[in-house]
């Protein structure tokens, strides 16, 4: 009656395994050289050479030892080369084409690295969208071809234009001396970066395994693009109730935006690393690191104008120190809490990209106006457009930030004009506004800006319109708050969202910058000096005020979005303001000692007390945010059950139309299940959090609740038949009993905590 088959023998790496290994490494090695060849302009001969060397070494060493490390080494090699190819080269060559020989004059090396990263991200998205819309099948070869062509085109423009530039136009390579750091500052920056990466790595060690709900949802779309080679249609099947009848209907989704997904598809297509792996989290980690550096270069530039030649002690109060302090406050401090490492493991892609692009957009708008450089404005608009194709919330908040900056600028501009010693103040204001308008006109109505704006409009209307515009999602975020979670945070909650210490010193910084603008008596009435010197305070005050108002008083702004999500953006301006506040207190400490009011010992004591308070407050938050334990074993069970069911469905054609339901409350990493089936965003159907079914502000279908909580009831049976749901994945101990008690279901799979039930045909 019974026969037993051994499916797989014990593990032994025989000749066949060795051949498989050589074949695998050869393939991945050749892919690596295919990626890297366009960079190095080398031909495929390198790939065959690599193959020969690989075979020689693999035959020489112990295969069991090197198998594991070689596969990881190869994967990492492919991952890093994909990152360089997609996230550095396009942006770098674009900068080279725009600024040519002036690139080293305009930007320091750190600035080039950060800007190249962000512009590459946006360039890749736009190229991907254009070629996807034209009808190109997006695969590894087409990505290699498109990006290589773009790089070569940019290089061609660079060479062509560089030749035309006369000798007088050429500039020495290193004349960006203003942004150079001394030895101590350089060591400090390296130490801060080390500490930042170390702390985040420590946290991610426990959460690098892909389990987060949001990341699972996002990776479905990235995998869809990689598998189909086409741009995704953001839609899902939803259960719709009409009277007592339930049916599945396809509806568009407004929550997902294409810019959040394409880069992951690109990396997957080039490196062939699975989506259910470390690579999505590491890509987000990289975005987070460059977001921090974006804040660093922004503070370096905005303080450069006002604090380069100021009246304060230059040894302490200089742009480099202010930028280092900003890096210190955004890097190691609060390194784990939102929107830092927790956003990386949580897969909050849009916010992380938004936190990279918002400071960079402000950086370019600032420099464009300060230097009257239309190419800077070109990059500002280019990155702003990228922001709107990446994350609607960040884009929406960015609009408010810009409005507040403009309002504050005008307020300060009028106030400064009133302060001047001219007889007719109104005439003076009008005259200065006239000059300001002239400058802005020349800046905005320049050929690169007009061309870019025309392209942007054509792109928006004829190439690709973001899903949130098509679905009219704006109506859901504009208006009076519809829930208590959208009615604004209290000041106490705002304090914790920003960080107590950052908020406290940020307020100090606000008063110091205000004081520096208004107390200074010797004002120049020369128009340029007035308005460029107002850019830094306008930017910081407008940025901080916009987010403060949006977080605490959303009803005044007529916005209807969760206040805690807006609060995640609020710490950025307060960090730069706090850096000013802290540095000013250090300056006072030094002045007190210089004037013999306090002794050197007291100065050191106060300094230590001051810094230990800051460090305690920053690191207390880090320690309380560290995650407890690992979730990987539970998630692996989920993946195993999903893979089992997906394989079964794939092997039975009559099951293609059958639906699945799973539980979100008790199953770990359940959002990743859809990546095994790739049928629909809402496949499997999901029983959501129980509170959602009780939310009177947003009534929803009840089928998903009934089908798991009370599967034998008549209403659940109606739901099963109307949605054609055949398989149910649940936690065995929590939801297993109600299925076991019913004769309508079979149990077809059991692991340590998960079970799969199937609905019997009768």
């Amino acid at each position: 009656m019974v026969r037993i088959y051994e499916i797989k023998g014990g593990v032994s790496y025989d000749r066949r395994t060795k051949e498989c290994l050589i074949s695998y490494l050869s393939r991945s090695g050749i892919i690596f050289f295919k990626i890297i060849s366009p960079i190095l302009f080398l031909n495929s001969q390198i790939a065959s050479l690599y193959n020969s060397i690989l075979c020689y070494y693999i035959n020489s060493f112990n295969i069991t030892v090197c198998l594991h490390f070689m596969s990881i080494f190869n994967e990492l090699l492919l991952f890093f080369s994909s990152i360089i190819f997609l996230l550095f080269l396009p942006g770098y060559f674009l900068l080279l084409a725009i600024f040519r020989k002036k690139i080293n004059q305009k930007f320091s090396p750190i600035e080039i690295a950060v800007i190249a990263f962000a512009t590459s991200l946006i360039t890749f998205d736009f190229l991907f969208i254009i070629f996807g819309k034209i009808g190109f099948n997006i695969n590894r070869n087409s990505i290699l071809a498109i990006i290589s062509f773009f790089i070569l085109a940019c290089y061609g423009i660079y060479k062509l234009k560089a030749k035309k530039e006369t000798a007088s136009d050429t500039v020495p390579k290193k004349n960006n001396s203003k942004l150079e750091f001394n030895k101590i500052q350089t060591i400090l920056i390296i130490l801060i970066l080390f500490l930042t990466i170390f702390l985040k790595t420590s946290y991610l060690a426990n959460s690098i395994f892909p389990t987060s709900t949001d990341l699972g949802h996002h990776m479905y779309w990235s995998k869809l693009v990689a598998e189909t080679g086409q741009l995704p249609h953001y839609q899902k099947n939803e259960i719709i109730q009409t009277a007592d009848i339930y049916q599945l209907k396809t509806n568009p989704i407004a929550d997902f935006i294409i810019g959040e997904h394409l880069i992951f598809s690109g990396i997957n297509l080039l490196s062939k690393i699975s989506f259910i792996s470390y690579f999505p989290a590491l890509t987000l980690f990289l975005i987070n690191i460059f977001g921090i550096l974006a804040m660093f270069i922004l503070s370096l530039r905005i303080f450069d104008l006002n604090f380069r030649d100021n009246t304060l002690n230059k040894k302490i109060f200089n742009p480099a120190n202010l930028a280092i302090l900003t890096l210190f406050l955004i890097g190691p401090f609060y390194a784990i809490t939102s929107p830092q490492a927790k956003f990386i493991s949580g897969g909050v892609i849009g916010n992380l990209i938004g936190n990279l692009l918002i400071p960079l957009c402000l950086y370019f708008y600032f420099r464009a106006i300060k230097e009257k450089d239309s190419w800077m404005l070109f990059l500002a608009i280019f990155l702003s457009a990228g922001l709107f194709y990446t994350h609607h919330l960040s884009g929406f908040i960015f609009i408010f930030i810009l409005i507040f900056i403009i309002l504050i600028f005008n307020f300060l501009f009028i106030l400064k004009n009133i302060q001047t010693n001219t007889s007719s103040k109104i005439r003076n204001i009008l005259s200065n506004y006239k000059n300001l308008a002239k400058d802005f006109f020349h800046l905005f109505f320049s050929p690169p800006i007009i061309t870019l704006l025309i392209f942007a409009l054509l792109f928006l209307f004829f190439v690709y319109t973001p899903s949130y515009i098509v679905t009219d999602a704006k109506t859901t975020v504009v208006g009076a708050p519809s829930k208590s979670t959208r009615a604004g945070l209290t000041l106490e909650q705002f304090k914790y969202a920003v960080g107590e210490m950052r908020l406290a010193f940020g307020i100090v910084g606000f008063f110091i910058i205000s004081g520096l603008i208004f107390i200074k008596k010797k004002l120049s009435i020369e128009k340029n000096i007035i308005y460029t010197r107002l850019l830094m305070p306008s930017l910081l005050f407008g940025w901080a005020l916009a987010l403060f108002m949006m977080t605490t008083k959303p009803q005044w702004m007529r916005i209807n979005i969760p206040s805690d999500r807006v609060a995640n953006y609020a710490n950025f301006p307060f960090i730069i303001l706090a850096a000013t506040g802290i540095l000013y207190l250090l300056f006072i400490l030094k002045e007190l000692k210089n004037n013999f009011i306090i002794s050197k010992k007291i100065q050191y004591f106060l300094f230590l007390l001051f810094f230990s308070t800051i460090i305690f407050m920053g690191y207390y938050d880090n320690s309380s945010s560290l995650s407890q334990g690992q979730k990987n074993q539970k998630a692996l069970q989920t993946f195993h059950a999903s893979e089992f069911l997906a394989n079964q469905i794939k092997s039975h054609e009559n099951l293609y139309s059958a639906n699945i339901i799973k539980d979100h409350n008790y199953i770990s990493a359940d959002s990743w299940m859809k990546l095994f089936f790739m049928t629909d965003y809402n496949y499997p159907l999901s029983r959501g959090y129980f509170k959602r079914y009780e939310d009177i502000t947003k009534p929803r279908e009840m089928c998903t609740l009934w089908m798991i909580s009370e599967p034998s009831s008549q209403r659940a049976q109606n739901c099963f038949s109307s949605t054609n749901t055949k398989y149910i994945i649940v936690d065995t101990s929590v939801d297993g009993p109600q299925f076991k008690a019913s004769s309508n279901f079979s149990k077809i799979y059991e692991g340590n905590s998960l079970s799969i039930f199937s609905k019997n045909n009768r």
Binding site: I7, F198, Y278, N752
Partner: protein
């Protein structure tokens, strides 16, 4: 010597070390441990064949077959770590449903199926 390039080189080294460490760690975490699975070989047809997939220590798995709550067969098989075993059972005639209970150490799992 102490210019921005040294900062960028340091940053690159930190990123490579951190990312490599996290990638290796994630690979290690990707291995199922102390778990075993029991499932029907084919979920759609009326075959009672089942599979035991073992990710815990190599051991003896005892399985019992129940028809109408009566035990009709009991046997055991050794399943190696990281291996699986298919157990084929001839479909009993005129039986509506079948239950398979597998025990390993102190752990017990069961699956059942409608054979009609």
């Amino acid at each position: 010597m102490f210019d921005q390039k040294s900062i960028l080189i340091s940053l690159t080294i930190f990123i490579i070390i951190s990312f490599s460490f996290l990638a290796i760690l994630e690979k290690k975490q990707h291995q199922i441990k102390d778990n075993w699975f029991l499932y029907f070989e084919n979920i759609e047809d009326a075959s009672p064949n089942f599979t035991i997939e073992n990710y815990s220590k190599t051991g003896n798995f005892t399985w019992e077959i129940f028809i109408n709550d009566s035990k009709v067969k009991e046997d055991s098989a050794q399943v190696l770590n990281n291996n699986k075993k298919n157990v084929s059972i001839d479909k009993p005639l005129g039986v509506k449903s079948i239950k398979i209970v597998v025990s390993y150490s102190k752990d017990k799992k069961e699956i059942y199926k409608n054979l009609e």
